[in-house]
Symmetry: C2
Subunit: 402 residues, 2 copies
């Protein structure tokens, strides 16, 4: 089971994609993408939990229900989130979907939509409509980076991955996925868009369960800045074009774990590309009373600005890590907690362990830093991925709309 | 009732203070302070809720109980938090307190201790002991900035305030307080030290209640970076030297509100001096279902790195404010929320309101920014104070220990 990074959503049979330059993004890059399944695919989605949901999120959720989770196409734009845009925003999302449905000649509930970018700005519906014929004309099933690029905002590189998976029957199916990340990444997937395709045949119930399982253990364990957005969406389309059916419990395990592998790979790319990130940090939390506790502790460390700036500065200020653990509102006995950096015990049984300052500085100056927090409060563990907080994060976010 | 900013903890009758340079702080500034009450004062304290509590916090909590909340002196150092320092740290705190008690000839449970600075570093007990005779010899009741300076770490300016308060009996008492702030300031008072003195006579029960009330509405409504520390402490000493007793419910209200005024003034100074802060932000949350909800929404906005960097950059990205509100996990109907900037309605009944972009940019470029979030979910309101997130925050925190 090997990843390919050259292709993604069109790697599974029966999917086509394209991209266009509409001018929504000021930098002149691709900003409108279309993904089409040749037949109606079984679909599932995970959306943001932010109370202010963007118009495309509200509409797509409706369309999924009204179509019985059958989807033919997804249209996505970057540069404008179409969030907090009122009735005009709702009409713009409806208008976009209607136009795609009309030109593709499919029921409009079988079209989903996603947007990412500045909040509170109007979506240029006319320009989007005008670009749809071009999107349809350039759809292709070969590896195509135009769709992949059309979803990016402050990302420094595109993120895509695909996989061919064999079931016990020796038959194989394919999964491909692309995501956008950068800022506002946090549990519950802030301003994160992800599109997954597979040519496996799978029931909607199983597909939705596998997606929930995989998102919980991938996107929901990463954090860039602790903020979560109005637009987060992960879509998965399964069109069955491989003729391979995910039927037995064993098949389901393989499917769900393959989906998790693909999403975790994208999640880690997102952290590596966190706004202004210069270091990649893995926070292992071990022997927590529950998985939720373990993730909570990992997030407390991964979102602490004091931890993140210390890591940016290569400053071996390990006390901030334990201070963040102490703030996590999780049950544990502080006297039992152990902190390890790069496998070396730093603090244990209420005592700092003798470690050479130079060794500590070396640990903190690496591009990839791994820390382990052993709570000794139970049997569950989790890994949270995060990055440092740099000048560039401030720069990127201080001038985002201007 | 007018504030004075030239004096603080020695303004009430019967208190003396001094400061010394021990060399714990690398910059050569005052780093050890002593506050003494001529008679045993009634005392109360609020400590950090972080699970990892520094040695001085653990010891002082014990001493307050063992002395029946009677206190003669407080010794404080900056430059070293004496947190996560194990048994050595405990012994260093005990040794410091014992030495002060011995030289002052008071019971050792009547001495409290506080530390702030780098976590996980050993406190130089010998140097501290050697400095105590000097501290005692220089104690004075005149305005003295040496104590006030001795508590600072990354603060750009000292913070002190005092007040003379008349009760209905026309008799008056005095309150003075000094605090250190800067980074790690958050609800529950992270790495924040505050020392309050008063010459009013008041029962310990009333004093503790007034302190809880005032801290909740002052330090617990400010946030710089959302982190909370191992060392936060607010001490209040009431020595009764004015001969004025806080007895009636009306007197108590005056006392508690005066304490709140003093602490709120210090809290706002702390935000103004937030690490790297260039703008002061007031977040008003109105018509929430409860006071706790209102504060929660205010904190969600006040800790959002995306909101704080936008404000630093003068970027009128108001969508991020509502996105933060939407993440606050408080009950409200998003369709009923209104956002006002500088009194101008920006978003209302699910619709962005027509506002000129230039006016928005002007609003966001001010040194002091006020925003109001009306939830229309109830009758409670709260004000949260915060600052922006700048390059300097990253710089200060990227090289704190080095």
């Amino acid at each position: 089971m090997n990843f390919s990074y050259d292709c993604s959503i069109t790697f599974p049979t029966g999917f086509k994609a394209s991209g266009a330059i509409v001018g929504i993004k000021a930098n002149g890059n691709y900003d409108l993408g279309l993904l089409v399944s040749e037949t109606a695919a079984t679909s599932a989605a995970v959306f943001t939990r932010n109370k202010f949901k963007a118009a495309p999120v509200v509409l797509s959720r409706e369309n999924l229900i009204k179509s019985g989770h059958r989807t033919r196409a997804i249209i996505v734009n970057s540069g404008c989130a179409n969030a907090l845009t009122g009735k005009k925003g709702t009409l713009a999302a409806i208008g976009t979907v209607a136009e795609v449905a009309k030109q593709l000649r499919v029921p409009r509930h079988q079209v989903l939509v996603a947007s990412t970018g500045v909040i509170g700005r109007e979506l240029p519906l006319k320009e989007i409509k005008d670009s749809i014929p071009g999107l349809l004309a350039t759809l292709k099933s070969e590896p195509d980076n135009h769709f992949v690029e059309s979803i990016l905002t402050t990302d420094k590189f595109p993120k895509q991955v695909s996989l061919e998976v064999a079931l016990s029957s020796k038959k194989s199916f394919r999964i491909g996925a692309t995501a956008k990340g950068a800022g506002m990444i946090h549990p519950n997937m802030a301003t994160m868009l992800c599109f997954v395709t597979t040519d496996a045949a799978i029931s909607q119930t199983k597909l939705a369960a596998a997606l929930g399982y995989a998102v919980d253990r991938s996107f929901n364990t990463i954090t860039v800045d602790g903020d979560t957005s109005t637009n987060d969406t992960v879509y998965v389309l399964a069109n069955g074009a491989s003729g391979v059916e995910v039927k037995t419990p064993a098949d389901y395990r393989v499917f769900a774990d393959s989906l998790l592998k693909v999403l975790r790979e994208l999640a880690m790319m997102i952290v590596r590309d966190g706004e202004g990130a210069t270091r990649f940090v893995t926070v292992n939390v071990e022997s927590a009373a529950s998985y939720a506790d373990a993730v909570k502790v990992g997030r407390a460390v991964g979102t602490s600005p004091l931890v993140k700036t210390a890591i940016f500065g290569g400053d071996p200020n390990w006390g901030r890590i334990l201070s963040a653990v102490g703030n996590s509102e999780v049950k544990f006995d502080p006297a039992k907690v152990e902190l390890k950096l790069e496998g070396k015990s730093i603090f244990k049984r209420n005592e700092p362990q003798p470690v050479d300052l130079r060794i500590l500085e070396e640990m903190f100056s690496k591009k990839e830093i791994e820390m382990t927090i052993r709570l000794n409060a139970g049997k569950e563990s989790a890994r949270v991925f995060t990055c440092d907080l740099s000048y560039d994060y401030v720069k990127i976010n201080g001038e985002y709309t201007t």
